[in-house]
Every structure is written in structure tokens, then in C-alpha cells.
């Protein structure tokens, strides 16, 4: 009996925390379905309203929402695919082959993880200007097409999950280096690829500072920058703002919901093993 009460108390606290974490989403939906006047009164309205269509219309009238969404999708999808390919290929090479300079290259890779992004931001903007990429989505995709974290993380995975004999057997069967990568390494790394893919996609979708700097054309933005522009120009129309926020959030929550388990497993594993 005592244990039962303890269990109930435990879940009561855990559910309370869950409600706190979920509350902003619920409140966002409530705000998005009401008018600002309904929300901003005392006591506030806590139920869903019928103003969602109006709010969506206002968002679409004030920012090029679908264009920004399209830009964000292009950037996030291409960054993710490039990162998955380049990172897994490099990780496989580090994990399963020996060649001169391997350790030095790997240490260099680890060292780059310590460097904060701001350290490069100013000259990087100048580089983009020289390349003619200022205002273009290339400026967001290309610099992030391969990264140290992904290579480090995938390397750990390849070391533990692929036996050397398997790689050797594939080589003896006449699989070249790329063949072994494609037919042996990639299929066995699906869970790791799922994690790295979602991690990269989420990061790219939510990226804010660099797009804010480099996307200088106000008609050609990503969702996050467009949203912040909407906030700057309509700072009091919270119902419309939250509708925009909701519309920008939904695709991401869907992607996360599909891969949630693998993602959480991947995100927490690294800390314990490292």
C-alpha cells in the first residue's frame, strides 16, 4: 500500500512536469485560434476559438510564408543529405582503415569542435560577398555540408557495430572502398544515420543567427528570420504571431515525432559513452 502511494505521488510530479513542458504548445494553439483581443483581457480566455483562419490569412498577408517555408525546406533537406553522406563516409574511413596521418587528422577534427561560430562570422560574410553568395541559400548550405560532430559520432558507431572481418570479407569479394561503404557500412548504420539526420535537420531548420546575417534580401528569407521580422513589425498582434510560430513549428514536430525514439537514444548515448 505504501509503495502504491509513492508511485502515485511520483507520477503526479512527473505528469506536472510534463504539463509544464507541453503548456507552451497548448497555449500557442489557444492563442492562434483566438483574436488578440480575446487573449488580452482579464481573465484570459483558456479555450480554443474560431479565429484560426483569420490569423492564418494575416500571417500570409504580412510575410512570404510559403516562400520562406520552401527556402527552409530546401536548406534543411540539402544540408541533411550532404551531412549524412560526407560525415558517414569520413567516419567509416576513420573507423575501419589505417593510413598515414590518420590520428593527426582526427585530433584536428576534435579540436575544431571547440571553436565558437562567432569567431568566423565576420570574415565568412566577406567570403560570401566575394563568392557572390550573400542573400543566397548556398551561403547556408555549403559551409555546413560536413561537420566534425557528425563524423566523430558516426565513427564511434562504426567502430562498435561493424566487425573488421565483415569489411575484410567485402574487400575479398571484390567490393571496392566505395562498394564496401555503400553495401556494408551504410545499411548497418541506419539508427545512427536516423539520429544524425534528425539532429542536422532540426538544427538547420531552427538556425537563426547566420541566416539573419547573410540573407540580406527581405523577400528571400528562411522561416526563422521571417518570423522574427513579423515579430519586429507586429509586436503586439500576438494571435497572429503565435499562428506564424505554430505554422513554422508543425513540420519540425512531425519530423521529430516520427524519429523520436531513435533520436532520444542517440542524443543521450553519446554523453554516457564519452
Amino acid at each position: 500500500m505504501r509503495y502504491r502511494w509513492r508511485g502515485i505521488a511520483l507520477h503526479a510530479v512527473l505528469v506536472f512536469a510534463l504539463l509544464l513542458f507541453m503548456f507552451p504548445f497548448a497555449w500557442t494553439i489557444i492563442m492562434a485560434t483566438n483574436s488578440t483581443a480575446d487573449i488580452y483581457r482579464f481573465p484570459p480566455k483558456f479555450t480554443f476559438g474560431s479565429q484560426f483562419d483569420d490569423n492564418v490569412r494575416h500571417v500570409l498577408a504580412n510575410i512570404a510564408f510559403f516562400q520562406s517555408m520552401g527556402n527552409t525546406v530546401i536548406v534543411a533537406v540539402s544540408t541533411t543529405l550532404l551531412v549524412l553522406f560526407f560525415d558517414s563516409l569520413a567516419a567509416f574511413t576513420f573507423a575501419k582503415f589505417r593510413f598515414p596521418g590518420r590520428n593527426a587528422l582526427f585530433v584536428l577534427l576534435l579540436a575544431t569542435m571547440l571553436l565558437p561560430a562567432q569567431l568566423a562570422a565576420v570574415p565568412q560574410f566577406q567570403t560570401m560577398a566575394i563568392l557572390g553568395w550573400v542573400g543566397s541559400l548556398k551561403a547556408l548550405i555549403v559551409p555546413g555540408a560536413a561537420n566534425a560532430f557528425g563524423i566523430f559520432w558516426m565513427r564511434q558507431y562504426f567502430q562498435n557495430s561493424i566487425h573488421d572481418e565483415l569489411v575484410e570479407a567485402a574487400t575479398l569479394d571484390g567490393c571496392g572502398f566505395m562498394g564496401t561503404y555503400w553495401h556494408v557500412a551504410l545499411p548497418s548504420a541506419r539508427p545512427a544515420l536516423a539520429f544524425l539526420g534528425v539532429f542536422t535537420f532540426v538544427g538547420s531548420w531552427n538556425d537563426y543567427m547566420w541566416p539573419l546575417i547573410v540573407l540580406t534580401n527581405p523577400d528571400h528569407l528562411t522561416l526563422q528570420v521571417a518570423l522574427s521580422q513579423l515579430n519586429r513589425s507586429h509586436g503586439v498582434d500576438y494571435s497572429m504571431l503565435m499562428t506564424g510560430a505554430l505554422m513554422a513549428m508543425v513540420p519540425l514536430v512531425v519530423v521529430f515525432a516520427i524519429f523520436a525514439r531513435q533520436f532520444i537514444k542517440g542524443a543521450t548515448e553519446g554523453a554516457v559513452r564519452g
Binding site: G7, L14, F86, L119, I213, T268
Partner: protein
């Protein structure tokens, strides 16, 4: 270093290979090249030119001029720099201490919960993958002076309403609330993974010795968890020292009333991309880097040196 492991690797033995020329490994170097080429062009080169730029004066248009240590002297003499530094540290402590303490408590509770653990884990994690801009807008509405949710709650309790986003401490409370909300879940799951890795026998032995739950927590759980705590502190430090989106969206480029939301990265952003004072911004960037290194080293010392050799 993990790369020096002595495990047998594919291919012929090292002796056979030693004689070959380096370029016979071209496939491997080609496979690694994308990262290193991108790093050289978009990482190393800009970082090196940041170092040079920090000793120059440049607005992006007129020719660069070497000015020696001027940028650093202006930096040290600028009260806004010290204010931004102070704000960043205050925000770091105001958000990291509650985040990590709540996360540890939730992790311990989640470990003893048997049912619904996956539901909790997913729900706790979602804030961490949510757009910072969207959530910054959400939290500015919650803390807004006129009829924001927080003020509505205060009013129903008979407490006078506060001008949260127009008052220095209010701004800091709003920003740290948002950071805590975003990061508790992530850290909870990290701690949970760490707790589950502690061998069960240790707890049984403690039970046999008659140790209560509190004693067990402080003499087994916490010491075993130390590497994990170090990891979360380092992650929080690196993230906390680079706080930008929250204040920039919530109180704008100015940093809000009394520049109370002016963080060091927002200060950098303003100098570089609003004032086009590139040399000065480069000096700020170097100081941010130094700060990150300093704090990482401090964390390392606190958590490693005091422990045993493991």
C-alpha cells in the same frame, strides 16, 4: 585518445604498407576531404583573418588600417562590454543552476517510474527541438506587461502587475525562464542515461549496509554521475556563453531597458553587422573564444581534479 586503439584494422599489415607511397591511400584522403576543405575555407581561413582583423580598423568599404591594440583598448574601456559580460554570466547562472538541479531530480524520479517512461521522455525532450524564435515570441507574450499570462496570474493572486520586459531583472527572469524550459528535458534524459549505467550491485550493497535513500544518493549516485554532470555543465557553459536568439527576439538589438538583455554575442552581432565595425567585432569574437576556453578549463578542473584518477 580513441584514435590510437590497437585493434586490428582491415587491409594488409603495417609492415607491408610502410613502403608504399602516401598517395596510394588517395581514396581515404578523398573520402575525408569534404570536411577538411570546408573547414579550411569556411572555418580556418575566417578564424585566422579574425585574428588579423582584431588588430585593424575596417568598415568593410575603405582599406583596412593596422591600429595595433586599439580595438582591445576600446573594448576594455567600453562599459557596454563589461555590462554584456556581466549579463551573460548572470543569465548563465540564473538558467543553468535551476536547469541542472530540476533535471537531476526529474531523472531520479523518472528512473524509479516503471510505466509511461517513453511518453515522459519524448514529451520532456520536445522543447529542446522547438524553434528558439517561435518560443522567444511565445515567452514575450507570456511576460508581456498588458495582460500577459504571468501578469494575469499575479493579478488573480492580488499581486500588482510587473513590467517584465521593461525592467532589468524582469528581462533576465523572462530569458532564463525560456532557457530553463528549453533545456531541462534534454539534461533530464542525459542524467537518466547516466543513472541507468550505474551498476545495480552498488545500490544493493548500500542497502545491505543500511544506507538510506539520501545517503545512497550522495555517496553512490552523485559520485558515479560526476562525468555526466561535467558533460552537462560543459554543454550548458558553451551554450550559455553564446546566448543570442532569446534576447535578440525578446527585447531587440538594443538589449532592452538598461541593456539588461545585452549578451556578449548580441554585443558582437551589433558591432559587426549593425555598426559595420569589423575590427572591433573581431576583438569581441576573440574575447568570446577566450571566455569559452577559460570556462571549459574551470569546469574541467572542478570536476576532474577533485575526483579520483578514473
Amino acid at each position: 585518445m580513441p584514435a590510437t586503439s590497437a585493434e586490428p584494422l582491415t587491409g594488409s599489415s603495417a609492415g607491408q604498407r610502410r613502403g608504399r607511397r602516401v598517395w596510394s591511400y588517395w581514396r581515404f584522403y578523398l573520402a575525408l576531404s569534404p570536411f577538411y576543405i570546408l573547414f579550411a575555407v569556411f572555418g580556418l581561413y575566417p578564424m585566422l583573418s579574425t585574428i588579423v582583423l582584431a588588430f585593424q580598423r575596417w568598415d568593410g568599404l575603405s582599406p583596412r588600417r593596422f591600429t595595433g591594440l586599439d580595438n582591445f583598448r576600446f573594448l576594455v574601456e567600453d562599459p557596454t562590454f563589461w555590462l554584456a559580460l556581466k549579463n551573460t554570466l548572470v543569465l548563465f547562472f540564473m538558467s543553468t543552476i535551476p536547469t541542472l538541479s530540476i533535471a537531476l531530480v526529474l531523472a531520479v524520479m523518472l528512473q524509479s517510474a516503471v510505466r509511461f517512461t517513453n511518453v515522459y521522455r519524448i514529451a520532456y525532450f520536445i522543447p529542446n527541438v522547438t524553434s528558439l524564435v517561435a518560443m522567444a515570441i511565445f515567452f514575450s507574450s507570456v511576460f508581456s506587461t498588458n495582460f500577459g499570462l504571468v501578469n494575469a496570474a499575479l493579478r488573480s493572486l492580488g499581486i500588482p502587475e510587473q513590467d517584465w520586459l521593461g525592467e532589468p531583472w524582469g528581462i533576465k527572469i523572462a530569458i532564463s525562464t525560456m532557457i530553463v524550459w528549453g533545456w531541462v528535458g534534454y539534461n533530464t534524459l542525459i542524467y537518466l542515461a547516466g543513472l541507468q549505467a550505474i551498476p545495480k550491485e552498488q545500490y544493493e550493497a548500500a542497502k545491505v549496509d543500511g544506507a538510506g535513500p539520501v545517503r545512497t544518493f550522495f555517496s553512490i549516485t552523485l559520485p558515479q554521475l560526476r562525468p555526466i554532470v561535467l558533460f552537462t555543465v560543459v554543454i550548458s557553459t558553451i551554450g550559455g556563453l553564446q546566448t543570442f536568439t532569446e534576447p535578440q527576439v525578446m527585447v531587440g538589438n538594443s538589449g532592452g531597458t538598461g541593456q539588461s538583455g545585452m549578451t556578449i554575442v548580441l554585443y558582437f552581432y551589433r558591432a559587426a553587422f549593425l555598426d559595420n565595425d569589423y575590427g572591433f567585432a573581431a576583438a569581441i569574437a576573440l574575447s568570446i573564444f577566450a571566455l569559452v576556453l577559460l570556462f571549459t578549463a574551470i569546469n574541467w578542473r572542478i570536476f576532474r581534479v577533485r575526483g579520483d584518477a578514473s
